[in-house]
Symmetry: C2
Subunit: 293 residues, 2 copies
Amino acid sequence: MKAVRTIAELREHIQELKSSSDKKTVGLVPTMGYLHQGHASLIRAAKEKSDIVVVSIFVNPIQFGPGEDFETYPRDEQRDLAAAEGAGADLVFLPSVPVMYPKPTKTKIAVSDVTSGLCGASRPGHFDGVTTVVSKLFNIVQPDYAFFGMKDAQQVAVIQQMVFDLNINVQIIPCPIIREEDGLALSSRNVYLSQEERSQALVLSRSLRETKDALEQGRIRTAGQARDLLVSTISESKVAVIDYVEVVSFPELTSLENEARIMEQDESVLMALAVKFGKTRLIDNCLIQLKGE
Amino acid sequence: MKAVRTIAELREHIQELKSSSDKKTVGLVPTMGYLHQGHASLIRAAKEKSDIVVVSIFVNPIQFGPGEDFETYPRDEQRDLAAAEGAGADLVFLPSVPVMYPKPTKTKIAVSDVTSGLCGASRPGHFDGVTTVVSKLFNIVQPDYAFFGMKDAQQVAVIQQMVFDLNINVQIIPCPIIREEDGLALSSRNVYLSQEERSQALVLSRSLRETKDALEQGRIRTAGQARDLLVSTISESKVAVIDYVEVVSFPELTSLENEARIMEQDESVLMALAVKFGKTRLIDNCLIQLKGE
């Protein structure tokens, strides 16, 4: 595995790895580093599907709002390199901010509609920063496949929309959420949690699991009932402060009417949460696939 | 030469033309059709620099504002195909609106700063439409080079900014303005002009030429004097209605202070005009290259 820091080096190494055959496929796993088993599962999925696996590690300043955690976002380059290699990466791209933004970007890619709710509502400008940097990475790496975790389900929907609208020649592969044994969804931000907060945060996965069970067993049926059950379960934690609890179509992310029967929808339904524990905002979600996708 | 109407066909034919060697380069000439000698010069430049020349012909609805001439923009497919073939095109891509926009696009690419003045000020949203469709064409064709006429100098600056900011792997080749013998810059919109308007419109190229001469001969020196001379010359036409007369840096497109001495600038200076003759808005410009670019 090679670690490279400039665009020229990266392109050169990709060409080199491709040199035996231009038919070799490239899989890209874009990350902000501080890799955990969720990232490792993306890298393994990339390894399985592509000949050459590129992992990018870049904490992208333009997707953080004022007062968010850009400066304090956890970083550990040495551990990340070992983790990427262990999971099967061929190349790790670790650009500095000046490599990605030699001048402040005047160009932004903005996706409407799918960015208006959920995290888009709580984090204005966030998804413009995501689509802009992901588009840059796509142009730099020119991958055949790109792998994103469903933990950030809205991010997957936004990027798929961008790829569709701009005719980007890359296939987006969404990969399942990876959880700790006790249910906590893996996130680089979990390190911010105190022991007490971490234990309280289990209410997120539990609320999703219990609501899904209730829907599948027919104890509840509507989006309104699902929202109520999610909110009441989360509220059992005294320190949880709800940012949003939403039940939306996927990938359109249109809010379901309170009366809408979840298991009778024509398309997948996403139950999505953002909840603060102390200063740490966590997200989690559960996708109910209704068309056997 | 082949004419194709779908993205799949286009990609297939490009692959076919490349098949003998993946080292073959692709040159793209994006147009809105109704081809004239200006377009032909772009196609010839593309032919000289690239192995495979793709001409796209698409009147892009999202770059027209309400009340602009999207519906009436001149179209003549048969003549265009002959002109493209005559100039050396290998492939002509003529997508319909549903091919380019199977659903209304939710994704827009916006470039700030360089779009705020000149035509960007008169035509809000115009350049978002241009950058979005050009980015789509780049993703569809994946050219090594793309050729744009300097008649739309701001468009060249905006696209170069987008390519730089998004790390798009294409080299933009600006090509000189082509004029009629009497000086009128070629434009598909010239067909809108009555005989009288066409004759009045010669004031555009004349004002630029005379101002450039005056600067080179030292009869005038400053941006303010250049603006005054341009305005007074254009005003000799009784029917000319000025939209803008600007003297700006290129490619930054920052307005020069009135006192700034044009021939002593560190970078190129663009004198740019937009003037209406009857219902027809014409643009023209003159680039004063000061660094021997």
